[in-house]
Assembly symmetry: C2
Homo-oligomer: 160 residues x 2
């Protein structure tokens, strides 16, 4: 199906999920998954963290990453409502994959070598929802982020 003339230049910019503790989540998304922190926007009661892979081979400056964060695809926005990280009564967020709250499914990360990537996740102690060897689909895996959101891991090359 062709895109319409009126939507020329549109981009699927970002996906937003809420997180309990930004320090834990930022560590996961930058150190485990390797995203850059593109920008941080602080408000009185919440803070937004914008993450994304550096597709410029390191050519972009921090300022260019920040100002260009709406002009690209593949951005992940983490919303931290201040206080949840130390609130003993905080129930945690729904991953979207069970009732109630079912609706949102997952985000997915493409990796050049899925075997190697999954071995590294194992060695880092990342919890798996589905290992490569589980189930019938042996070429994809699902790991869990610190809030329990599902993160699918898929190979770059797809044979159809």
């Amino acid at each position: 199906m062709p895109r319409t003339a009126e939507t020329t230049g549109f981009k699927f910019n970002h996906t937003m999920i809420r997180v309990k503790d930004p320090q834990v989540s930022l560590k996961f998304y930058t150190e485990v998954l390797g995203m850059d922190l593109l920008d941080t926007t602080k408000f009185d009661s919440f803070t937004l963290y914008f993450l994304g892979y550096d597709n410029s081979d390191g050519k972009l400056t921090d300022k260019e990453k920040a100002t260009g964060r709406f002009d690209r695809e593949g951005v992940l926005e983490l919303t931290h409502n201040h206080g949840t990280e130390s609130d003993a009564n905080f129930q945690g967020y729904s991953s979207g994959n069970s009732d109630p709250g079912r609706g949102f499914g997952h985000i997915a990360i493409t990796v050049p070598d899925i075997q190697k990537a999954c071995e590294r996740f194992e060695s880092l102690g990342v919890p798996f929802k589905k290992r490569l060897t589980d189930g019938t689909m042996k070429n994809i895996a699902f790991i869990l982020d610190p809030d329990g959101y599902w993160v699918e891991v898929v190979p770059a090359r797809l044979s159809l």
Copy 2:
């Protein structure tokens, strides 16, 4: 923060949400938002629809779009569990923005001319969660997709 050597080549490939009626949702994402249908994968009880903007200026063939759908960013995967579209008892999916189910927030589309884009959404009868003129942030809007998921509309150029 620099990405680690082990995550070189990683991409934020897609976001998955569940939809009640794929015909209604495909119309919205292709005709209103202008995405291409990259690939469809049918299973016995559910079907997956992969959507994304054609960033190749129309150079990619349908087959290249399908086989390359894991090797890019900005893909939206719609999951249709067969039967929900005609099930009178189906409660609908949580958008993630109210309890219970709070967790998932929204996806966002970048547009070159946000005024024009919002006028077109108005003329197409798309429901708004937040018009450009609502609230304090006058440079972003939120529309609702057919299942009630929030779709943020943001300008490509960001002044920080």
